[in-house]
Amino acid sequence: MGDEPRDRRRERFEQVFAANREAVLGYLLRRTGNRHDAADLLADTFLVAWRRLDDVPPGDQTRPWLYGVARRVLANHVRGEGRRHALADRLRNELAESDEPPRTLTDNSPAAIAFRCLPEQDRELLSLVAWEELDTAQIAITLGITRNAVRVRLHRARKRFAKLLTAPLANRCLVPLKEEASHEDA
């Protein structure tokens, strides 16, 4: 934070917050299925952004960077390190009051079953493309890997998903991983 006047800092944060809050909330809601938790996870994510404001990249890199933070916050949450923030009370209440039942990927359509059968890494990659609409360079920022690794892994993820989808009627969670050994980070 250095010598930057507090007002300017705050202004920058508010820009980042206003431009990305809905997207990050969407990211979290899609992955937790729990509206209470999503409010606190959102608070956690933006607390990190506030404290590390100088590290937040500009332009179209901001959002994938925030997704990367949200992803780690979510991982902590899954490990049972969740917290409640008073500052998210109002948001939590509004989300909890929403009429929309929280939907998670629990329906039993063949596509949903096939998707659930995919390794977590594949699901996250495909979701970042289709739900968050990120491009390769942005996904690389979110996941902290090289663009080339993103391309290789995405190609494999799509191939595995296609294979599961084209199985007639039901899917069997059978995904051979033989081609995994190549040097994707090269």
């Binding site: 934070m1 507090r6 944060f13 917050f17 206003a18 809050r21 809905e22 969407g26 809601l29 899609r30 299925g33 959102l42 608070a43 956690d44 933006f46 607390l47 506030w50 404290r51 590290d55 990367g68 902590n76 390190e81 923030h85 008073a86 500052l87 009370d89 109002r90 948001l91 509004e94 989300l95 929403s98 929280p102 039993n108 359509s109 063949p110 998707f115 390794p119 977590e120 495909l126 979701s127 493309v129 289709a130 739900w131 996941l143 902290g144 890997i145 799509r158 998903f161 989808l165 084209t166 007639p168 009627l169 039901a170 069997r172 969670c173 059978l174 995904v175 991983l177 995994e180 050994a181």
Partner: protein, 281 residues
């Protein structure tokens, strides 16, 4: 399938429509966050981390199903192998051959026996339809290097002594390096409870061992097929229109003169019916 088709299917699975949030709620959160600097309320867990920015690679992977059928439990005592009750371990060169001797065992017993061998391999039981009970069908590991070291074995493959594919002691199996240090989870099929959705099932509910085994319902009308299905004590959980493939959605119960195209196991004594207004080709 083309790339954009795959992505479209994923897009359709998006579980969360937009949620309206009031400006007041956003403002409260934003003000609360920016107020945290002078206020030294510690947010210790999420302070900038020392660990590298690169997130731990979490690669879960599934492997080919090589094994079918349920194997009767039997313990064969052979002098050349350490033979605990649920699993058997045999050294072969630098590899360890693990075989499931008792496919009906509680996975905790497998876990304990893997642990005893110094292997960080856990078996997780998931609900499956009857023909898959006792089968291993998915392997996960922290990364592909670890995963590559594991190999599921077919019944009869690398059996001990004169055992072959018909011996209960040589069915489900896994080949793993003796010095394997990876952390692995194996999904193991267990019997589903009533109403519990299968995570793994046969392609059709009419296959051997499934609820509608041998029942000829394909291209019968819904009106004709339903009594047959009900005569087995089986309920239809949902109807899917075949024309919606590949992303099916539940549809209302179709008219009796629609045709059944197929049935898929859903949960014990529950199936999903695929239907259309005309017979299936």
């Amino acid at each position: 399938m083309k790339t954009h088709d795959i992505d479209a299917v994923t897009r359709d699975l998006n579980p969360s429509p937009g949620t309206p949030v009031s400006d007041a709620a956003w403002a409260e959160l934003s003000d609360g966050i920016t107020a945290t600097v002078e206020d030294t309320t510690p947010i210790t867990q999420l302070a900038p981390r020392r660990t590298p920015a690169r997130p731990r690679l979490v690669l879960a992977a599934a492997c080919t199903l090589l094994i079918g059928g349920v194997v009767a439990a039997a313990v064969v005592n052979r002098p050349d192998q350490n033979q605990p009750q649920a699993l058997s371990f045999t050294e072969r060169g630098d590899k360890l051959i693990v075989r499931v001797v008792d496919p009906t065992a509680d996975p905790k017993r497998y876990n304990a026996e893997f642990k005893k061998m110094g292997l960080n391999i856990k078996v997780k039981a998931v609900p499956v339809s009857p023909p898959s009970v006792g089968g291993m069908f998915s392997f996960t590991a922290a990364n592909s290097a670890e995963l590559d070291q594991l190999r599921p074995l077919e019944p009869g493959e690398k059996c001990n002594g004169t055992l072959n594919a018909s011996d209960p002691g040589c069915q489900l199996g896994l080949e793993v390096p003796k010095n394997y240090t990876g952390k692995t989870e194996i999904l193991f099929g267990r019997k589903a409870k009533p109403g519990e959705m299968y995570q793994h099932m046969s392609l059709s509910a009419t296959e051997k061992g499934e609820a509608l085994e041998g029942l000829a319902i394909a291209n019968k009308t819904v009106g004709a097929a339903l009594p047959l299905i009900e005569s087995r004590g089986v309920k239809v959980h949902a109807y899917y229109a075949s024309s919606d493939r590949p992303h099916f959605k539940d549809i209302a119960k179709p008219a009796d003169d629609w045709f059944v195209h197929g049935a898929s196991p859903f949960a014990p004594d529950e199936v999903t019916l695929y239907v259309g207004p005309t017979p299936d080709k």
